[in-house]
């Protein structure tokens, strides 16, 4: 590493580093727009397939091992969407280790819920819809609805939805000419994402989020926008709202400016 790095502040960015088909802005969009002298480490998703059975603590251990091993002081923890739940837990553990609390800056922080998992299932189906017949599409849609209604916990729902996508998607993708590795790559990422969402439900960020600053988009289904007004007021220490779509939040120059200001305080 370069000498400047040692002087730079360390920040942890918590997000599902989805690289397959992501159209939503990511920390890779935000960080280049920041003026602050900052080193950002972003959480990396375990390779598809290895996440099976991982709990929230497993994820946290994996991500914090390097921080523990280094001498870096973590000054800031960023979280995006459900990554904000893990961000809360990381901030808590970092505080315990280094004795001082990092800044916590959350972008559209959201707790996982069943409808969210189901929504991502619908999105995944759209991605592979080109390879599906009408009948397969109907069956997949139906399987998703049934899972949503019948599963009693998020982990079970994540498993059901991953399995449904695999059952219907795998033969279709094979038919489309994809080898096993590619199929796993495409469908496995989805399973990995669902497991990540489900695992985050084990964390209660309710004590930590009220110390954070939240940066919110205007998309009604994301972040704090889903909360009723009386809950929203107390959810975080400060909320800064932008008239932007959720997908564009991390791409915005204005958001980057605001983050720079927050980092100066």
């Amino acid at each position: 590493m370069h000498s400047q790095v040692e002087k730079a502040e360390l920040a942890i960015a918590s997000d599902f580093f989805a690289t397959t088909g992501r159209t939503v802005g990511a920390f890779t969009d935000l960080v280049p727009r920041l003026e602050a002298n900052l080193t950002v480490w972003e959480t990396l998703t375990p390779p598809a397939g290895t996440e099976i059975g991982m709990t929230a603590d497993d994820y946290l251990d994996r991500w914090l091992a390097d921080v523990r091993a280094s001498d870096h002081v973590v000054h800031t923890v960023f979280g995006f969407c459900v990554g904000s739940v893990f961000a809360a837990a990381m901030a808590e553990q970092v505080t315990a280790r280094q004795g001082s609390a990092p800044r916590l800056i959350l972008f559209d922080p959201e707790r996982p819920h069943a409808a969210l998992l189901h929504r991502h299932y619908g999105d995944a189906l759209q991605i592979i819809s080109m390879a599906l017949s009408d009948t397969e599409m109907k069956a997949a849609t139906h399987a998703g609805e049934a899972a949503l209604e019948e599963c009693s916990d998020l982990t079970g729902l994540a498993t059901r939805l991953s399995a449904a996508l695999l059952d219907i998607g795998d033969p279709a993708l094979r038919r489309a000419g994809l080898g096993e590795q590619r199929r796993t790559e495409l469908l496995g990422t989805f399973g990995s994402f669902l497991n990540y969402l489900a695992a985050s439900a084990e964390i209660d960020p309710g004590d930590i989020w009220p110390t954070a600053t939240a940066i919110s988009s205007a998309t009604p289904r994301n972040g704090l926008n889903v909360l009723p007004p009386e809950q929203r007021a107390d959810a975080v220490a400060r909320e800064i709202r932008f008239d932007l779509q959720h997908a564009d939040l991390l791409r915005s120059v204005d958001v980057a400016k605001t983050v720079d200001e927050l980092l100066r305080t």
Binding site: Q4, A13, F17, T19, T20, G21, R22, T23, T28, P32, L34, N37, L38, T39, W41, E42, L44, P46, R62, L64, D66, P112, H113, A114, A115, R119, D123, L125, Q126, I127, I128, S129, M130, L132, D134, M137, K138, T141, H142, E145, A146, E149, L154, G177, L178, G179, R182, E185, A198, G206, P210, P220, R221, V226, L227, P228, P229, E230, A233, D234
Partner: protein, 1063 residues
């Protein structure tokens, strides 16, 4: 959340609280809130207005008494990940607060709605809130309870008990005996026979068919906000319903329900109609249980349109009573058995609700010596697209409609209500008529549409030829045609026409024969047409520029023997034809030969071929009266007369060109010939208009788009006609801004040139209308069964009246299919265009019915995608096509024409992605210099489809060695890009994901790269490096080739390594 945890007191030490899992029916209420966060659709409100002031401590004690008596009101719920649990708080754990409300809205109703529409949280917080709004007209005590603990029937019980409790508190009376706690009612499990009844009853039902033909079917992110209309039906309706009860041997509820089903069927939700209806499921002995004890039963009434109204009422009666017997099944247990619409976030078995409230009265009573009354309060939401509450009491019938304004407009709902009233009035009289014949029109429908269609007017003279003849007699030396420097008088044109007639007769052309004319726009073409008519024959316009095969097909299909054409055309027209060149029209002539007139002016004027979207071209036979009608109408609408001029701009093989020639000849004005180039050269058009002082210019939107830049300055004060394809609002705005008088016209060839017209003024709204029927024309919007649709309901636009063509030449079956008979309006033509009447009597065109497609389960209107792309400031024109099999691998391709500056495909893709649902985002964007147009100057969709298909084929052909041959890796990647994107214009910098690629194609690319070269590229890297150049660089870097560093990595002052893992 901390706030809610603090709000809820912990249970006292030693009390162990039982948390039970909520029922499926309760979970369904919760599911709705997770799908539409922050909505208060589950809040059940009510209010009391009490005269004078209230004693607040007594109110609080009374509320406290009710909370003690009904544990269900103290029940709280907690939403876990996918589970809902509930527990009941002790009375002392439950806060009893009455909020003091302030009047801050225009009405008391709005004040109360604001209070009751605050959502409850399912986090253990109380699900009841009460407020007091003091006003001059009394105190308003308002309560909202979550539906999980309450329903409408509970409100009545609550009010009675609350009134008594308040009175006791005020008077200090002891509580009456038996005032102890009432155990919550636990509903029994559904009976197996009920479950099987419903499974049988609902088998094969497809909720997708419930869309109405008005409003929109659903929006991507529903809010469920609701509005309401309350209306008292006239006393005559009540009487009619009472009569129907006797005649049709059914109770009032059934009569009202059957009419509701008929109403929905008439609006598109049939013939398999399912209506939800709430049923109170409190068993005998538990009538006074407070709680959520209502089930919605899905009443499935199959409307057979051939059956009589009487039989339909009986069918409805059977369904109603049988369903009531099985009301113990909550609807949420049934939805699982059904197919779902693709990506429906809500599993909805029905979206239309009927709620019959017999003996309904909002009672006035006395509380502690003060007059009081119950008020209905809205929570501001609607779970269903439309819900009819029919309240019946004594001689009174009232309808309260709650609806979702994001789905239906207020006007749509008001009109439905009028139709419901009309339907109920006619029910007895129409009892034995088949359902399909029952008119579903309200008074306003009838008035507006009949007024719009009241277009009768005399057409004088009766034909274009007769009018022309009149001008030849009256002002023979007036100029009829200007062609460059040439001017031709009416007399000169007449002489030449007579010469053509003579020539035709010499060649044994008889009246009724078809004579082709393949002459460019000129005085000679005008003389040929008039000469053909004088011979009693029918002209067939042939565009010399059309492909030879098409020309030859038209000539042989029409049975033409004689063609009027220049000798240079002779070789192109095929054998066996007599080709006659018309003589040049002389500028000045002296002789007059008026004796040859009149010719028959009731027969056929022309035979014209149109390509249609599929199949071979078809020839339409247009009559003289039809033509005269359109020409006479526009002569008057445009206010033109002798001396005025109109530009003859459109190719003569397109029927609208006739208007440009015949309006001047009919009105005694001048037709000014424009060269073809004027359709693409705005400067030339400008000069022509200026030089000849042209008053009227007609062109298609495509032409206007091309010429407006240079031609705009000259249009001020002139009359512009625009039609023939969709006129985008932005283009209409640009045209209006020129200061011209813009006429938006619509009409198919089969109803003669234009059938509707309207002027566009001011700032046009989001969608343009196409005006009203022209003279002697009636428009009908029809459903697939041929029923005429009322205002706001979309269906197929059909045209009746003078303009309706005789039919298709030699196409009996097609003629019988497209041309039908109407009992009142006579012969009419089915256009295949979808339209609806607006309430002002204008028509709104919604597109070709064949431009609505279903792609992978999603209903897609291609015109809507185009309209979205047109909103981009750099897009001048857009056309979207589907390539491939819509049930399998089809994709949407958008062709766009840039407005002038640079148009970024990435920006366009971004715009589409943020404004359209995912299924509607085109997979590929192609920027073209100009959209191809057909002979009629309309966007040529078949040509675009062919172009797109060809691009695919070309790329499958072996590539020529290109400039990248020296870089083998790059060349390989470009070939792969081309193959998967099915396009040939791939360069080293083509972004895979903005050029038609998606994740699946990306995976296929990775696969093919690996299969062909052994190089494995993770999909993630393709997303990071989406161009051939970047990916080649990445591959080299990954293989240690340091010469090729990754290209395009953004420069940044921050140290940023997003993939520095913390693991």
């Amino acid at each position: 959340m901390p706030s809610s945890r603090e709000r809820l007191p912990s249970p006292a030490p030693g009390i162990s609280r039982e948390h039970t899992t909520a029922s499926a029916k309760e979970e369904a209420l919760w599911l709705l809130e997770t799908l539409v966060p922050g909505c208060a659709a589950n809040n059940v409100p009510f209010a009391l207005q009490i005269a004078g002031e209230l004693h607040i401590p007594a109110l609080e004690r009374a509320l406290s008494a009710l909370l003690r008596r009904y544990p269900v009101l103290r029940t709280v719920y907690r939403a876990h990940d996918t589970r809902l649990t509930k527990t009941t708080l002790e009375p002392d754990e439950f806060p009893v607060e009455i909020e003091r409300l302030h009047s801050s809205h225009p009405s008391v109703e709005a004040d109360l709605t604001a209070f009751v529409a605050r959502p409850f949280s399912l986090d253990g917080s109380p699900l009841l809130r009460a407020g007091l709004l003091p006003r001059e007209d009394g105190a308003y005590f308002c309560v909202a309870v979550h539906h999980l603990n309450f329903d409408v029937a509970s409100a009545t019980i609550f009010i009675e008990d609350f009134a008594a409790a308040y009175e006791n508190e005020v008077t200090g009376s002891p509580s009456p005996p038996g005032d102890g706690p009432v155990d919550p009612l636990v509903e029994a499990e559904p009976r197996p026979e009920s479950l099987s009844f419903w499974h049988e009853q609902l088998a094969g039902f497809d909720p997708d068919g419930s869309d109405l033909w008005c409003g929109v079917s659903e929006i991507p992110q529903p809010t469920l906000l609701g509005e309401q209309i309350t209306y008292r039906l006239s006393p005559a309706v009540k009487k009619s319903v009472q009569r129907a009860q006797k005649d049709l041997r059914s109770p009032e509820a059934v009569i009202l329900l059957a009419a509701y089903c008929l109403l929905l069927d008439g609006h598109g939700a049939g013939p398999d109609v399912v209506v939800g209806s709430p049923v109170n499921v409190r068993p005998q002995g538990a009538e006074r249980a407070i709680g959520y004890h209502v089930n919605f039963i899905p009443l499935r009434v199959r409307v057979d349109r051939a059956m009589s109204v009487r039989d339909l009422v009986l069918r409805t009666r059977d369904v109603f009573f049988n369903s009531l017997l099985h009301a113990d099944v909550p609807v949420d247990a049934l939805t699982r058995a059904l197919p779902r619409s693709a990506f429906a976030r809500r599993a909805m078995l029905f979206r239309h609700v009927f709620n019959y409230l017999p003996d309904f009265e909002l009672p006035e009573f006395v509380i502690a010596d003060r007059p009081a009354r119950t008020l209905m309060v809205e929570n501001g939401y609607s779970k269903f697209d439309i819900e009819f509450f029919v309240m019946s009491s004594g001689e009174d019938l009232r309808v309260r409609i709650v609806y979702r304004p994001e789905i239906l407009g207020r006007s749509d709902v008001e009109l439905m209500l009028e139709r419901y009233e009309a339907l109920l009035l006619s029910l007895t009289a129409e009892a034995d008529r088949p359902v399909r014949e029952i008119p579903l029109w309200g008074e306003r429908d009838r008035t507006v549409i009949e007024t719009a269609n009241r277009t009768a007017a005399q057409v004088l003279p009766a034909s274009v030829l007769e009018a022309f003849h009149g001008h030849v007699e009256a002002s023979p030396d007036a100029v009829a045609i200007e062609d460059g420097e040439r001017t031709v008088t009416y007399r000169g044109l007449w002489e030449s026409a007579c010469a053509v007639t003579d020539m035709l007769r010499e060649n044994r052309v008889d009246p009724g024969d078809v004579v082709a004319v393949a002459v460019k726009r000129s005085p000679e073409l005008a003389a040929s047409v008039l000469g053909i008519w004088l011979a009693g024959a029918t002209y067939l316009p042939i565009d010399p520029d059309h492909p030879a095969q098409r020309v030859s097909y038209q000539l042989s299909d029409s049975g033409t023997r004689v063609v009027l054409a220049g000798t240079e055309m002779a070789g192109h027209l095929g054998d066996g034809l007599t080709v006659l060149p018309p003589d040049p029209v002389a500028g000045e002539t002296a002789a007059r030969r008026l004796g040859d007139f009149p010719a028959d002016s009731t027969g056929r004027a022309y035979l014209i071929y149109t390509s249609g979207s599929t199949g071979r071209p078809k020839g339409t036979l247009v009559t003289h009266p039809g033509l005269a009608n359109a020409v006479a109408h526009f002569t008057e609408e445009l206010g033109v007369g002798s001396g005025d001029s109109m530009l003859w701009l459109t190719t003569f093989a397109f029927d609208i060109s006739g208007l440009e020639l015949f309006v001047p000849l009919f009105s005694g004005g001048r037709a000014v010939v424009a060269p073809d180039e004027a359709r693409v050269n705005g400067g030339l058009l400008h000069d022509l208009i200026e030089r000849h002082d042209v008053q009227v210019i007609q062109a298609t939107p495509t032409t206007w788009r091309i010429v407006l830049g240079d031609g705009a300055g000259i249009l001020r004060g002139r009359k512009v006609l625009c039609g023939g394809e969709t006129l985008p609002v932005t283009l209409a705005q640009q045209l209006v801004a020129t200061g011209c008088d813009l006429h938006h016209v619509y009409g198919p060839t089969e109803s003669t040139i234009w059938s509707t017209s309207g002027t566009v003024t001011g700032r046009p709204g989001a969608r343009l209308d196409v005006g009203r029927p022209i003279r002697n024309t009636q428009i009908m919007v029809m459903d697939p069964d041929g029923r005429e649709l009322p205002l706001g309901v979309s269906g197929e636009l059909c045209v009746a009246g003078h303009g309706v063509a005789e039919g298709y030449h030699n196409r009996t079956e097609l003629t019988a299919d497209r041309f039908r008979d109407h009992a009142v309006h006579g012969r009419y033509y089915r256009t295949g265009d979808t339209a609806r009447w607006r309430t002002d009597g204008t028509l709104e065109l919604l597109g070709r019915s064949d431009r609505q497609i279903k792609l992978r389960g999603n209903r897609i209107e291609l015109g809507e995608i185009e309209a979205t792309l047109l909103q981009h400031p750099e897009v001048k024109a857009a056309a979207v096509i589907v390539l491939g099999d819509p049930s399998a691998d089809a994709k949407l391709i958008a062709f766009v024409e840039a407005a002038g500056g640079s148009l970024s495909v990435d920006d366009l893709w971004e715009q589409a992605r943020t404004s359209l649902s995912r299924s509607m985002v085109p997979q590929e964007f192609v920027v073209v210099d100009a959209l191809p147009t057909n002979a009629n100057e309309k966007v040529d969709y078949p040509a675009l489809t062919a172009m797109a298909a060809e691009r695919g084929t070309e790329t499958r052909a072996p590539r020529e060695p290109g400039s990248h041959e020296s870089d083998e890796l790059l060349a390989t990647l470009i070939t792969l890009w081309s193959g998967l994107l099915e396009r040939e214009d791939v360069t080293a910098d083509t972004n895979f994901f903005t050029s038609g690629g998606d994740s699946l194609r990306g995976a296929l690319l990775g696969q093919r790269l690996e299969d062909g070269t052994g190089i494995y590229v993770p999909l993630a890297e393709l997303f990071e490096n989406p161009t051939p150049r970047n990916l080649a660089a990445w591959i080299r870097a990954a293989n240690g080739d340091q010469e090729a560093a990754p290209v395009g990595t953004p420069a940044t002052s921050a140290e940023h390594d997003p993939r520095t893992p913390i693991s």
